[in-house]
Amino acid sequence: MKNIKIIILVACLNLMVRQSFSQSVNWASLKSNNKHIVHVTTGLDYGLVYGLGYSHKIKSQMPILLNISYSFTSGGKLFDDFKTKIGGQARLYSIGNFQFSASIYGIYRRYENTLVRLQNFGSEMTGVIGYYKPKWFVAGEVGFDKAIVTHFKHSENFKTDFPNTQDGWYEPSTGGNFNYGVQTGYSFKNSDLILKVGAVITQDFKTTPLIPYYFQLGYNYKFKQTKNK
């Protein structure tokens, strides 16, 4: 029964998710007719990664973007390690040029080496506060990435060494990391250039991942929606 539920969830996510990465936008340059935004990113995110994403601005009183994104690692095997995200971000509060936004994502990610294949469902929450002008912005961000439930499938190599390995879904949470850093951007015409840098620390606040930093260089293209009729 549990497996069926998880398969349903995977199927749902697969249907919904095409591409991903945490998209940053310049809220001040976002116009009412910018309904569709495409994101291209590269950077360090637990490894050298490349990403694609799409955001859709929905009609609402507060600016809300729905995001889907996909990122994959470099290396000899391009699609064995990847991360997909689906979620949204909203500008929750603003005073003059200072704005506060928050985002929440559901994550499906995969990792494979010669010993194991991991599939994980997780979540990511981020808060961003910054100073936004139509041409540029600078902001600070704090986020938390939780690996909620992970499926382990070990290779024959691994099982030769440890035949009693337990494959299956591991829960509760198998991990979690906080991140904090700054993001800045320059906006021109229908485009944003975005730079994010920061540090990562594990949820015990004592240890760090092997790459304790993140870095992202991104480009956003905002499509203008022409008025019908």
């Binding site: 390690d81 509760p172 198998t174 991990g175 004592k206 991942p209």
Partner: protein, 330 residues
């Protein structure tokens, strides 16, 4: 539109929560890593120097002892089982997983303050298996185990009667660091680096969560499969690494910057020093440099093998007769 999205999110959350029926926990021994001697009482165990060690001995108890020292430090003796063959040649072969690794007892990181504890463990294990004061003892160390053998001889030059050192990274810490850097070199765009780092978002463990850290270390060690700088045919067999012990040893080395060569001139017995053909991070020059402090050295190059030359058939078949002749000559 907003309502649809929220409904979908709530549905997904419910499915996820309902899916959590039978729990497999990563923090539980026996799931992703085997149980240690403190959890599985059927494992061969000795208790010496205040710790439980996973240990086995083969051959006649009164025969000359060959104490096998595994590498890592976070490895275990499983990959050196070929050395059991010395028992058929009249030797007493003793294996043990070092304190904090393999299937031996785990300790918190604060437990490890110097390598003197490792020497004391060796002394206690030799004493445990020795049946008479005149029984000879040889050391057979591989990689970190060879460094440990060198360090032990440097500390107690009269304690053993011979030693085989197979590719120790170095006997002064600077050499060790250089060797580690050369043997673990990874390009930023490589699959090996991704394999080492990408897993950090799936699994995290606190400082002394041995089950999680040991498992992650096993995954990290597998990155060598992608780089193959050290020239091995395949990954070595292993029960369970000791990640905390590994990190503690590296911290001790970096803090104390040890030099294990200061008394080696007192050890005048011939030492057999082995290096491999296929380990591109080692080579003759490094072997000569590391072995130089011993006054009496026989250098041997194992052809057709990499760093784990004692584990795979070609390396073993090419090295075993040389080691056997050496031991028999002492």
């Amino acid at each position: 539109m907003t309502k649809k999205v929220f409904s979908l999110a709530i549905a997904a959350t419910c499915i996820l929560l309902m899916g959590c029926e039978k729990e497999l926990k990563i923090s539980e021994s026996g799931n992703l890593v085997p149980k240690t001697v403190t959890e599985d009482l059927t494992l061969p165990t000795i208790t010496v120097n205040g710790a439980k060690f996973h240990a086995e001995a083969f051959g006649h108890p009164d025969s000359t002892i060959i104490l096998v020292l595994h590498g890592g430090p976070a490895a275990d003796y499983r990959y050196l089982y070929n050395c059991k063959e010395f028992a058929n040649q009249g030797f007493r072969v003793v294996f043990y997983d070092q304190r904090g690794t393999g299937l031996s007892q785990r300790f918190p990181k604060s437990h490890y303050t110097s390598l003197q504890q490792n020497y004391d463990d060796m002394t206690a294990i030799i004493a445990y298996y020795r049946t008479s004061a005149t029984q000879k003892v040889f050391l057979l160390g591989h990689s970190w185990g060879a460094m440990l053998a060198g360090a032990y001889i440097n500390t107690y030059p009269n304690a053993v009667n011979g030693a085989v050192l197979a590719e120790p990274g170095g006997l002064v810490w600077e050499d060790v660091k250089k060797y580690i850097k050369a043997s673990q070199k990874m390009e930023i765009t490589s699959e090996a680096l991704n394999n080492a780092t990408y897993i950090d978002q799936f699994i995290t463990g606190k400082n002394d969560e041995h089950e999680i850290l040991d498992y992650k270390f096993r995954m990290l060690a597998s990155t060598g499969n992608e780089t193959n700088i050290t020239g091995d045919e395949s990954p070595i067999a292993q029960w369970r690494p000791g990640a905390v012990f590994q990190n503690a040893c590296l911290d001790i080395g970096n803090e104390q910057n040890p030099n294990w060569t200061t008394n080696l001139h007192l050890f005048t017995t011939k030492v057999l020093f082995i290096y491999s053909e296929k380990n591109s991070a080692y080579g003759l020059a490094h072997a000569q440099k590391v072995s130089a402090p011993f006054p009496n050295v026989a250098l041997f190059k194992t052809m057709g093998a990499g760093h784990s030359m004692l584990s795979f058939p070609t390396g073993w078949n090419n090295t075993y007769p040389v080691m056997l002749n050496y031991f028999k000559s002492l």
